[in-house]
Subunit: 244 residues, 2 copies
DNA sequence: GTCGTTATTCTCATACTGAGATTGTCTCAC
DNA sequence: GTGAGACAATCTCAGTATGAGAATAACGAC
Protein backbone atom coordinates (compact mmCIF):
# COMPACT_ATOMS: atom_id res chain seq x y z
CA UNK A 1 0.00 0.00 0.00
CA UNK A 2 1.59 3.27 -1.02
CA UNK A 3 1.03 6.56 0.74
CA UNK A 4 -1.87 7.64 -1.48
CA UNK A 5 -3.77 4.38 -1.03
CA UNK A 6 -3.11 4.47 2.69
CA UNK A 7 -4.64 7.91 3.05
CA UNK A 8 -7.70 6.96 1.01
CA UNK A 9 -8.34 3.97 3.27
CA UNK A 10 -7.68 5.93 6.44
CA UNK A 11 -10.57 5.99 8.90
CA UNK A 12 -10.50 9.00 11.23
CA UNK A 13 -13.09 7.40 13.50
CA UNK A 14 -10.51 4.82 14.53
CA UNK A 15 -9.02 7.47 16.78
CA UNK A 16 -10.70 8.78 19.93
CA UNK A 17 -12.65 11.94 19.15
CA UNK A 18 -11.68 14.96 21.15
CA UNK A 19 -13.14 18.42 20.98
CA UNK A 20 -10.68 21.31 20.88
CA UNK A 21 -11.57 24.73 22.21
CA UNK A 22 -9.71 27.98 22.55
CA UNK A 23 -10.09 30.10 25.68
CA UNK A 24 -8.89 33.68 25.71
CA UNK A 25 -7.54 35.57 28.69
CA UNK A 26 -7.96 39.17 27.53
CA UNK A 27 -6.39 41.78 29.78
CA UNK A 28 -6.77 45.53 29.81
CA UNK A 29 -6.27 48.35 32.27
CA UNK A 30 -9.22 50.39 33.46
CA UNK A 31 -8.79 53.15 36.01
CA UNK A 32 -5.26 52.01 36.76
CA UNK A 33 -6.34 48.48 37.63
CA UNK A 34 -5.88 45.25 35.69
CA UNK A 35 -9.11 43.78 34.33
CA UNK A 36 -9.91 40.52 32.56
CA UNK A 37 -12.71 39.88 30.08
CA UNK A 38 -15.24 37.37 31.40
CA UNK A 39 -18.56 36.11 30.05
CA UNK A 40 -21.51 34.84 32.01
CA UNK A 41 -22.46 31.45 30.63
CA UNK A 42 -25.97 31.18 29.26
CA UNK A 43 -25.95 27.42 28.69
CA UNK A 44 -25.07 24.38 30.77
CA UNK A 45 -22.64 23.25 31.95
CA UNK A 46 -21.96 25.94 34.51
CA UNK A 47 -24.90 28.08 33.32
CA UNK A 48 -24.86 31.39 35.16
CA UNK A 49 -21.22 31.02 36.14
CA UNK A 50 -18.56 33.40 34.82
CA UNK A 51 -15.98 31.98 32.44
CA UNK A 52 -13.26 32.94 30.02
CA UNK A 53 -14.53 33.71 26.53
CA UNK A 54 -13.87 30.82 24.19
CA UNK A 55 -15.37 28.12 22.06
CA UNK A 56 -14.82 25.23 19.72
CA UNK A 57 -12.47 25.61 16.82
CA UNK A 58 -14.10 25.41 13.39
CA UNK A 59 -13.10 23.05 10.61
CA UNK A 60 -10.29 24.58 8.60
CA UNK A 61 -9.61 27.25 11.20
CA UNK A 62 -6.14 27.64 12.67
CA UNK A 63 -5.81 27.90 16.45
CA UNK A 64 -4.55 31.49 16.39
CA UNK A 65 -7.37 32.50 14.11
CA UNK A 66 -9.97 30.86 16.34
CA UNK A 67 -8.64 32.78 19.33
CA UNK A 68 -8.76 36.08 17.45
CA UNK A 69 -12.32 35.32 16.37
CA UNK A 70 -13.48 34.53 19.89
CA UNK A 71 -11.94 37.74 21.15
CA UNK A 72 -13.46 39.92 18.46
CA UNK A 73 -16.89 38.32 19.01
CA UNK A 74 -16.86 39.69 22.54
CA UNK A 75 -15.04 42.98 22.10
CA UNK A 76 -15.54 43.84 18.46
CA UNK A 77 -11.90 44.81 18.31
CA UNK A 78 -8.96 43.28 16.55
CA UNK A 79 -6.81 46.38 16.04
CA UNK A 80 -3.89 47.09 18.32
CA UNK A 81 -4.51 43.82 20.13
CA UNK A 82 -1.57 41.61 20.93
CA UNK A 83 -2.52 37.93 21.19
CA UNK A 84 -0.31 34.93 21.86
CA UNK A 85 -0.68 31.29 22.78
CA UNK A 86 -0.33 30.39 26.42
CA UNK A 87 -0.79 26.68 27.19
CA UNK A 88 -3.12 23.74 26.70
CA UNK A 89 -5.27 21.94 29.23
CA UNK A 90 -6.55 18.44 28.70
CA UNK A 91 -7.46 16.76 31.97
CA UNK A 92 -9.97 14.04 31.02
CA UNK A 93 -12.72 15.38 33.32
CA UNK A 94 -12.29 19.10 32.83
CA UNK A 95 -15.54 19.32 30.86
CA UNK A 96 -18.49 17.12 31.94
CA UNK A 97 -19.83 16.85 28.39
CA UNK A 98 -16.96 15.11 26.68
CA UNK A 99 -13.22 15.04 26.28
CA UNK A 100 -12.20 18.64 25.64
CA UNK A 101 -8.69 19.96 25.15
CA UNK A 102 -8.48 23.71 25.55
CA UNK A 103 -5.75 25.86 24.06
CA UNK A 104 -5.52 29.09 26.02
CA UNK A 105 -4.50 32.44 24.63
CA UNK A 106 -3.36 35.64 26.24
CA UNK A 107 -4.44 38.98 24.78
CA UNK A 108 -3.51 42.53 25.75
CA UNK A 109 -5.38 45.59 24.69
CA UNK A 110 -5.50 49.29 25.45
CA UNK A 111 -8.52 50.76 27.20
CA UNK A 112 -11.43 49.19 25.34
CA UNK A 113 -15.13 49.89 24.94
CA UNK A 114 -17.59 47.83 26.95
CA UNK A 115 -17.72 44.25 25.74
CA UNK A 116 -20.84 42.72 24.26
CA UNK A 117 -22.22 39.31 25.02
CA UNK A 118 -21.55 36.66 22.37
CA UNK A 119 -24.07 34.14 21.14
CA UNK A 120 -23.62 31.63 23.94
CA UNK A 121 -23.15 34.12 26.76
CA UNK A 122 -25.78 36.03 28.67
CA UNK A 123 -23.41 38.81 29.65
CA UNK A 124 -19.82 39.95 29.20
CA UNK A 125 -17.78 42.36 31.29
CA UNK A 126 -14.31 43.53 32.25
CA UNK A 127 -13.73 42.30 35.81
CA UNK A 128 -10.95 43.55 38.07
CA UNK A 129 -8.51 40.73 38.77
CA UNK A 130 -8.70 41.47 42.49
CA UNK A 131 -12.48 40.93 42.50
CA UNK A 132 -12.91 37.69 40.62
CA UNK A 133 -16.03 35.56 40.99
CA UNK A 134 -15.80 31.78 41.06
CA UNK A 135 -15.12 30.62 37.50
CA UNK A 136 -16.42 27.73 35.41
CA UNK A 137 -14.34 24.69 34.43
CA UNK A 138 -10.63 25.02 35.27
CA UNK A 139 -10.62 28.64 34.18
CA UNK A 140 -9.24 29.94 37.46
CA UNK A 141 -6.10 27.90 36.90
CA UNK A 142 -5.83 29.12 33.31
CA UNK A 143 -6.24 32.70 34.48
CA UNK A 144 -3.54 32.26 37.12
CA UNK A 145 -1.13 30.98 34.50
CA UNK A 146 -2.03 33.86 32.21
CA UNK A 147 -1.41 36.49 34.87
CA UNK A 148 1.95 35.03 35.75
CA UNK A 149 2.89 34.93 32.07
CA UNK A 150 1.79 38.52 31.55
CA UNK A 151 3.79 39.67 34.57
CA UNK A 152 6.87 37.86 33.33
CA UNK A 153 6.56 39.17 29.77
CA UNK A 154 6.50 42.77 30.94
CA UNK A 155 10.00 42.17 32.24
CA UNK A 156 11.72 41.28 29.02
CA UNK A 157 9.45 42.47 26.20
CA UNK A 158 7.96 45.85 25.31
CA UNK A 159 4.50 44.34 25.82
CA UNK A 160 3.45 47.13 28.17
CA UNK A 161 3.15 49.44 25.17
CA UNK A 162 0.24 47.27 23.96
CA UNK A 163 -1.79 48.49 26.93
CA UNK A 164 -1.49 52.17 26.12
CA UNK A 165 -2.43 54.32 23.15
CA UNK A 166 -0.41 55.14 20.06
CA UNK A 167 1.52 57.76 22.00
CA UNK A 168 1.95 57.79 25.74
CA UNK A 169 3.89 59.30 28.59
CA UNK A 170 6.45 57.52 30.73
CA UNK A 171 4.04 57.83 33.65
CA UNK A 172 1.28 56.07 31.72
CA UNK A 173 3.72 53.29 30.95
CA UNK A 174 4.69 53.10 34.59
CA UNK A 175 0.99 52.84 35.42
CA UNK A 176 0.79 49.72 33.26
CA UNK A 177 3.67 48.06 35.10
CA UNK A 178 2.20 49.01 38.47
CA UNK A 179 -1.24 47.67 37.52
CA UNK A 180 0.02 44.36 36.14
CA UNK A 181 2.65 43.75 38.80
CA UNK A 182 0.50 45.17 41.57
CA UNK A 183 3.34 47.09 43.16
CA UNK A 184 4.33 50.80 43.18
CA UNK A 185 7.54 51.61 41.33
CA UNK A 186 10.12 54.34 41.90
CA UNK A 187 9.21 57.00 39.35
CA UNK A 188 12.71 58.35 38.84
CA UNK A 189 14.39 54.99 38.41
CA UNK A 190 11.63 53.76 36.09
CA UNK A 191 12.04 56.84 33.93
CA UNK A 192 15.80 56.39 33.70
CA UNK A 193 15.44 52.70 32.90
CA UNK A 194 12.84 53.06 30.15
CA UNK A 195 14.85 55.68 28.34
CA UNK A 196 18.08 53.73 28.67
CA UNK A 197 16.83 50.46 27.16
CA UNK A 198 17.52 50.64 23.42
CA UNK A 199 14.41 50.56 21.24
CA UNK A 200 11.84 50.45 24.04
CA UNK A 201 10.33 53.88 23.34
CA UNK A 202 11.15 56.68 20.95
CA UNK A 203 10.41 60.36 21.36
CA UNK A 204 7.67 62.03 19.34
CA UNK A 205 8.93 65.54 20.15
CA UNK A 206 5.44 66.34 21.45
CA UNK A 207 4.16 66.83 24.97
CA UNK A 208 0.74 66.40 26.53
CA UNK A 209 -1.67 69.31 25.93
CA UNK A 210 -1.80 70.12 29.62
CA UNK A 211 -0.47 68.90 32.90
CA UNK A 212 -1.98 66.04 34.85
CA UNK A 213 -5.46 66.29 36.45
CA UNK A 214 -3.91 67.11 39.79
CA UNK A 215 -1.16 69.39 38.56
CA UNK A 216 2.38 68.86 37.44
CA UNK A 217 4.18 69.83 34.24
CA UNK A 218 3.33 68.63 30.75
CA UNK A 219 4.86 65.24 30.06
CA UNK A 220 6.79 64.31 26.94
CA UNK A 221 5.04 61.90 24.61
CA UNK A 222 6.66 58.73 23.30
CA UNK A 223 5.68 55.96 20.93
CA UNK A 224 6.68 52.30 21.00
CA UNK A 225 10.18 51.64 19.66
CA UNK A 226 11.33 48.79 17.44
CA UNK A 227 12.75 46.50 20.12
CA UNK A 228 11.25 43.01 20.42
CA UNK A 229 13.19 42.26 23.58
CA UNK A 230 14.18 44.58 26.40
CA UNK A 231 17.87 44.39 27.13
CA UNK A 232 18.72 44.68 29.88
CA UNK A 233 15.36 43.55 31.22
CA UNK A 234 13.16 45.53 33.57
CA UNK A 235 12.97 43.21 36.55
CA UNK A 236 10.23 43.03 39.13
CA UNK A 237 11.16 44.02 42.66
CA UNK A 238 12.56 41.15 44.75
CA UNK A 239 10.42 38.03 44.82
CA UNK A 240 12.19 35.99 47.46
CA UNK A 241 9.08 33.93 48.16
CA UNK A 242 8.92 32.62 44.57
CA UNK A 243 12.50 31.52 44.32
CA UNK A 244 12.32 28.22 46.23
CA UNK B 1 -34.05 21.66 30.77
CA UNK B 2 -31.81 21.50 33.79
CA UNK B 3 -28.09 20.77 33.68
CA UNK B 4 -28.50 17.03 34.19
CA UNK B 5 -31.01 16.64 31.40
CA UNK B 6 -28.88 18.80 29.15
CA UNK B 7 -25.84 16.61 29.61
CA UNK B 8 -27.85 13.44 29.00
CA UNK B 9 -29.11 14.85 25.70
CA UNK B 10 -25.74 16.17 24.67
CA UNK B 11 -24.40 14.80 21.39
CA UNK B 12 -20.62 14.95 21.08
CA UNK B 13 -20.81 14.25 17.35
CA UNK B 14 -22.35 17.69 16.84
CA UNK B 15 -18.86 19.10 17.21
CA UNK B 16 -16.11 18.70 14.62
CA UNK B 17 -13.91 15.74 15.54
CA UNK B 18 -10.27 16.53 16.01
CA UNK B 19 -7.48 14.19 16.93
CA UNK B 20 -5.07 15.33 19.60
CA UNK B 21 -1.49 14.15 19.70
CA UNK B 22 1.48 14.87 21.90
CA UNK B 23 4.94 15.32 20.41
CA UNK B 24 7.99 15.25 22.63
CA UNK B 25 11.21 17.16 22.07
CA UNK B 26 13.61 15.20 24.27
CA UNK B 27 17.05 16.74 24.67
CA UNK B 28 20.23 15.32 26.11
CA UNK B 29 23.91 16.02 25.87
CA UNK B 30 26.24 13.46 24.33
CA UNK B 31 29.93 14.15 23.96
CA UNK B 32 29.43 17.79 24.85
CA UNK B 33 26.92 18.32 22.05
CA UNK B 34 23.16 18.81 22.27
CA UNK B 35 21.14 15.92 20.82
CA UNK B 36 17.43 15.43 20.21
CA UNK B 37 15.51 12.14 20.18
CA UNK B 38 14.06 11.37 16.75
CA UNK B 39 12.24 8.35 15.37
CA UNK B 40 12.16 7.13 11.81
CA UNK B 41 8.55 6.73 10.78
CA UNK B 42 7.53 3.24 9.73
CA UNK B 43 4.04 4.11 8.50
CA UNK B 44 2.59 6.71 6.12
CA UNK B 45 2.33 9.62 6.10
CA UNK B 46 6.00 10.54 5.83
CA UNK B 47 7.12 6.90 6.03
CA UNK B 48 10.91 6.75 6.20
CA UNK B 49 11.18 10.37 7.31
CA UNK B 50 12.51 11.31 10.75
CA UNK B 51 10.07 12.84 13.21
CA UNK B 52 9.63 13.75 16.85
CA UNK B 53 8.38 10.88 19.00
CA UNK B 54 4.69 11.25 19.73
CA UNK B 55 1.25 9.86 19.25
CA UNK B 56 -2.44 10.14 19.91
CA UNK B 57 -3.65 10.72 23.43
CA UNK B 58 -5.67 7.89 24.91
CA UNK B 59 -9.15 8.18 26.39
CA UNK B 60 -8.91 9.20 30.02
CA UNK B 61 -5.24 10.09 29.72
CA UNK B 62 -4.08 13.56 30.71
CA UNK B 63 -1.81 15.46 28.31
CA UNK B 64 1.20 15.40 30.64
CA UNK B 65 0.78 11.69 31.18
CA UNK B 66 0.56 11.01 27.46
CA UNK B 67 3.80 12.89 26.90
CA UNK B 68 5.57 10.94 29.65
CA UNK B 69 4.28 7.69 28.17
CA UNK B 70 5.51 8.53 24.67
CA UNK B 71 8.91 9.43 26.03
CA UNK B 72 9.28 6.27 28.08
CA UNK B 73 8.16 4.13 25.12
CA UNK B 74 11.23 5.32 23.22
CA UNK B 75 13.80 5.68 25.97
CA UNK B 76 12.56 3.35 28.70
CA UNK B 77 13.36 6.05 31.20
CA UNK B 78 11.15 8.18 33.36
CA UNK B 79 13.52 8.81 36.26
CA UNK B 80 15.40 12.06 36.54
CA UNK B 81 13.61 13.37 33.47
CA UNK B 82 12.22 16.87 33.52
CA UNK B 83 9.25 17.31 31.18
CA UNK B 84 7.10 20.38 30.55
CA UNK B 85 4.53 21.57 28.08
CA UNK B 86 5.72 23.76 25.28
CA UNK B 87 3.03 24.86 22.82
CA UNK B 88 0.24 23.55 20.61
CA UNK B 89 0.05 23.42 16.84
CA UNK B 90 -3.20 23.17 14.96
CA UNK B 91 -2.86 24.37 11.37
CA UNK B 92 -5.70 22.65 9.49
CA UNK B 93 -3.40 20.98 6.96
CA UNK B 94 -0.52 19.99 9.21
CA UNK B 95 -1.44 16.31 8.96
CA UNK B 96 -2.76 14.97 5.62
CA UNK B 97 -4.92 12.34 7.31
CA UNK B 98 -7.27 14.53 9.31
CA UNK B 99 -7.47 17.50 11.57
CA UNK B 100 -4.78 17.00 14.19
CA UNK B 101 -3.88 19.33 17.01
CA UNK B 102 -0.50 18.55 18.52
CA UNK B 103 0.56 19.51 22.02
CA UNK B 104 4.33 19.62 22.19
CA UNK B 105 6.44 18.83 25.22
CA UNK B 106 10.01 19.55 26.10
CA UNK B 107 12.04 16.99 28.05
CA UNK B 108 15.56 17.13 29.42
CA UNK B 109 17.57 14.16 30.53
CA UNK B 110 21.09 13.29 31.55
CA UNK B 111 23.21 11.11 29.31
CA UNK B 112 20.86 8.27 28.37
CA UNK B 113 21.16 4.77 26.96
CA UNK B 114 20.45 4.24 23.28
CA UNK B 115 16.77 4.65 22.50
CA UNK B 116 14.63 1.82 21.19
CA UNK B 117 12.14 2.04 18.39
CA UNK B 118 8.49 2.19 19.46
CA UNK B 119 5.67 0.27 17.85
CA UNK B 120 5.08 2.67 14.97
CA UNK B 121 8.70 3.59 14.34
CA UNK B 122 11.32 1.67 12.41
CA UNK B 123 14.22 3.30 14.21
CA UNK B 124 14.99 5.76 16.97
CA UNK B 125 18.18 7.69 17.68
CA UNK B 126 19.73 10.67 19.36
CA UNK B 127 20.62 13.13 16.62
CA UNK B 128 22.92 16.12 17.06
CA UNK B 129 20.95 19.34 16.65
CA UNK B 130 23.57 20.62 14.21
CA UNK B 131 23.07 17.63 11.91
CA UNK B 132 19.32 17.38 11.57
CA UNK B 133 17.69 15.58 8.66
CA UNK B 134 14.53 16.93 7.07
CA UNK B 135 11.66 16.25 9.46
CA UNK B 136 8.07 15.09 8.97
CA UNK B 137 5.00 17.31 9.45
CA UNK B 138 5.80 20.72 10.99
CA UNK B 139 8.27 19.14 13.38
CA UNK B 140 11.15 21.38 12.36
CA UNK B 141 9.18 24.39 13.57
CA UNK B 142 8.29 22.63 16.83
CA UNK B 143 11.93 21.73 17.36
CA UNK B 144 13.01 25.33 16.73
CA UNK B 145 10.55 26.55 19.34
CA UNK B 146 11.75 23.90 21.77
CA UNK B 147 15.39 24.82 21.38
CA UNK B 148 14.67 28.49 21.92
CA UNK B 149 12.63 27.65 25.01
CA UNK B 150 15.36 25.42 26.40
CA UNK B 151 17.98 28.11 25.84
CA UNK B 152 15.82 30.68 27.58
CA UNK B 153 15.01 28.43 30.52
CA UNK B 154 18.68 27.83 31.26
CA UNK B 155 18.92 31.53 31.97
CA UNK B 156 16.46 31.80 34.81
CA UNK B 157 15.91 28.25 36.11
CA UNK B 158 18.28 25.57 37.43
CA UNK B 159 17.23 23.35 34.52
CA UNK B 160 20.84 22.70 33.52
CA UNK B 161 21.16 20.42 36.53
CA UNK B 162 18.65 18.07 34.84
CA UNK B 163 21.27 17.32 32.15
CA UNK B 164 23.94 16.14 34.55
CA UNK B 165 24.16 13.36 37.10
CA UNK B 166 23.24 13.39 40.76
CA UNK B 167 26.51 15.12 41.59
CA UNK B 168 28.53 17.17 39.19
CA UNK B 169 31.37 19.63 38.89
CA UNK B 170 31.03 23.28 37.95
CA UNK B 171 32.82 22.50 34.70
CA UNK B 172 30.29 19.84 33.79
CA UNK B 173 27.54 22.35 34.44
CA UNK B 174 29.33 24.87 32.26
CA UNK B 175 29.53 22.22 29.56
CA UNK B 176 25.73 22.00 29.60
CA UNK B 177 25.35 25.74 29.11
CA UNK B 178 27.92 25.74 26.34
CA UNK B 179 26.25 22.81 24.55
CA UNK B 180 22.73 24.25 24.75
CA UNK B 181 23.68 27.83 24.01
CA UNK B 182 26.33 26.87 21.49
CA UNK B 183 28.86 29.41 22.77
CA UNK B 184 31.98 29.13 24.94
CA UNK B 185 31.73 30.75 28.36
CA UNK B 186 34.33 32.39 30.58
CA UNK B 187 35.23 29.66 33.09
CA UNK B 188 36.13 31.97 35.95
CA UNK B 189 33.07 34.18 35.65
CA UNK B 190 30.78 31.17 35.28
CA UNK B 191 32.23 29.64 38.41
CA UNK B 192 31.76 32.83 40.40
CA UNK B 193 28.22 33.25 39.14
CA UNK B 194 27.01 29.70 39.85
CA UNK B 195 28.29 29.79 43.42
CA UNK B 196 26.83 33.25 44.06
CA UNK B 197 23.24 32.48 42.98
CA UNK B 198 21.39 31.31 46.11
CA UNK B 199 20.13 27.73 45.92
CA UNK B 200 21.52 26.87 42.49
CA UNK B 201 24.02 24.28 43.71
CA UNK B 202 25.12 23.03 47.09
CA UNK B 203 28.43 21.53 48.05
CA UNK B 204 28.76 17.79 48.73
CA UNK B 205 32.16 18.18 50.40
CA UNK B 206 33.50 15.59 47.94
CA UNK B 207 35.78 15.96 44.95
CA UNK B 208 36.23 13.94 41.80
CA UNK B 209 38.33 10.77 42.16
CA UNK B 210 40.97 12.08 39.81
CA UNK B 211 41.74 15.07 37.64
CA UNK B 212 40.38 15.56 34.17
CA UNK B 213 41.43 13.27 31.26
CA UNK B 214 43.92 15.88 30.07
CA UNK B 215 45.18 17.00 33.46
CA UNK B 216 44.13 19.54 36.01
CA UNK B 217 43.32 19.29 39.68
CA UNK B 218 40.39 17.37 41.18
CA UNK B 219 37.21 19.36 41.03
CA UNK B 220 34.73 19.84 43.89
CA UNK B 221 31.43 18.03 43.50
CA UNK B 222 28.07 19.74 43.90
CA UNK B 223 24.45 18.65 43.82
CA UNK B 224 21.40 20.63 42.68
CA UNK B 225 20.16 23.16 45.24
CA UNK B 226 16.57 23.97 46.18
CA UNK B 227 16.09 27.06 44.02
CA UNK B 228 13.30 26.98 41.44
CA UNK B 229 14.38 30.27 39.91
CA UNK B 230 17.87 31.69 39.48
CA UNK B 231 18.14 35.17 40.87
CA UNK B 232 19.88 37.05 39.52
CA UNK B 233 19.58 35.18 36.24
CA UNK B 234 22.48 33.78 34.24
CA UNK B 235 22.16 35.66 30.98
CA UNK B 236 23.36 34.56 27.58
CA UNK B 237 26.11 36.64 26.00
CA UNK B 238 24.83 39.61 23.97
CA UNK B 239 22.26 38.73 21.35
CA UNK B 240 21.98 42.01 19.48
CA UNK B 241 20.55 40.31 16.42
CA UNK B 242 17.53 39.00 18.33
CA UNK B 243 16.58 42.26 19.99
CA UNK B 244 14.85 43.98 17.06
C1' DG C 1 0.19 84.27 44.38
C1' DT C 2 0.51 79.89 47.19
C1' DC C 3 0.45 75.14 47.63
C1' DG C 4 0.34 70.52 46.41
C1' DT C 5 1.28 67.44 42.46
C1' DT C 6 4.11 65.43 39.23
C1' DA C 7 7.77 65.16 35.20
C1' DT C 8 12.42 65.04 34.82
C1' DT C 9 17.13 64.91 36.14
C1' DC C 10 20.97 64.05 39.66
C1' DT C 11 23.71 61.96 43.23
C1' DC C 12 25.70 58.30 45.54
C1' DA C 13 26.42 53.89 47.50
C1' DT C 14 26.03 49.16 46.29
C1' DA C 15 25.80 45.21 43.22
C1' DC C 16 26.79 42.71 39.02
C1' DT C 17 29.48 41.73 34.74
C1' DG C 18 33.22 40.82 31.33
C1' DA C 19 38.00 40.29 30.62
C1' DG C 20 42.17 38.97 32.11
C1' DA C 21 45.67 37.16 35.36
C1' DT C 22 47.30 34.15 39.19
C1' DT C 23 48.00 29.97 41.88
C1' DG C 24 48.41 25.31 42.54
C1' DT C 25 47.08 20.41 41.32
C1' DC C 26 46.83 16.92 38.18
C1' DT C 27 47.69 13.84 33.71
C1' DC C 28 50.43 12.62 30.01
C1' DA C 29 54.50 11.98 27.10
C1' DC C 30 59.13 11.26 27.33
C1' DG D 1 61.01 10.86 37.53
C1' DT D 2 60.53 15.24 35.11
C1' DG D 3 58.63 18.87 32.40
C1' DA D 4 54.82 20.69 29.71
C1' DG D 5 50.31 21.59 29.29
C1' DA D 6 45.41 21.41 31.14
C1' DC D 7 42.37 22.96 34.19
C1' DA D 8 39.88 24.13 38.98
C1' DA D 9 39.51 27.84 41.79
C1' DT D 10 40.24 32.55 43.15
C1' DC D 11 41.29 37.44 42.50
C1' DT D 12 41.61 42.16 40.34
C1' DC D 13 39.79 45.95 38.01
C1' DA D 14 37.13 48.76 35.10
C1' DG D 15 32.60 49.45 33.27
C1' DT D 16 27.69 49.15 33.87
C1' DA D 17 23.22 48.66 36.32
C1' DT D 18 20.35 49.28 40.37
C1' DG D 19 17.78 51.21 44.57
C1' DA D 20 16.94 55.09 47.38
C1' DG D 21 16.63 59.65 48.03
C1' DA D 22 16.78 64.51 46.73
C1' DA D 23 16.65 68.64 43.71
C1' DT D 24 14.46 71.36 40.10
C1' DA D 25 10.81 73.14 37.69
C1' DA D 26 6.21 73.25 35.36
C1' DC D 27 1.51 73.01 36.09
C1' DG D 28 -3.66 73.06 38.19
C1' DA D 29 -6.69 74.33 41.92
C1' DC D 30 -7.86 77.66 45.04
Amino acid sequence: MDEREYLAAYDPRAYPAVAVTVDVVALTIIGGLLHVLLVERGEPPFAGRWALPGGFIRPGEDLDRAAARELSEETGMTDRVHIEQLASYGAPDRDPRMRVVSVSYLAFAPDLPDPRAGSDASDAAWIGVDHLPELAFDHERILDHALERARAKLEYTPLATAFVGETFTISELRGVYEAVWGVPLHAGNFHRKVLSVPGFVESTGQTTESGGPRGGPRAKLYRAGDARLLHPALLRPEREEEVR
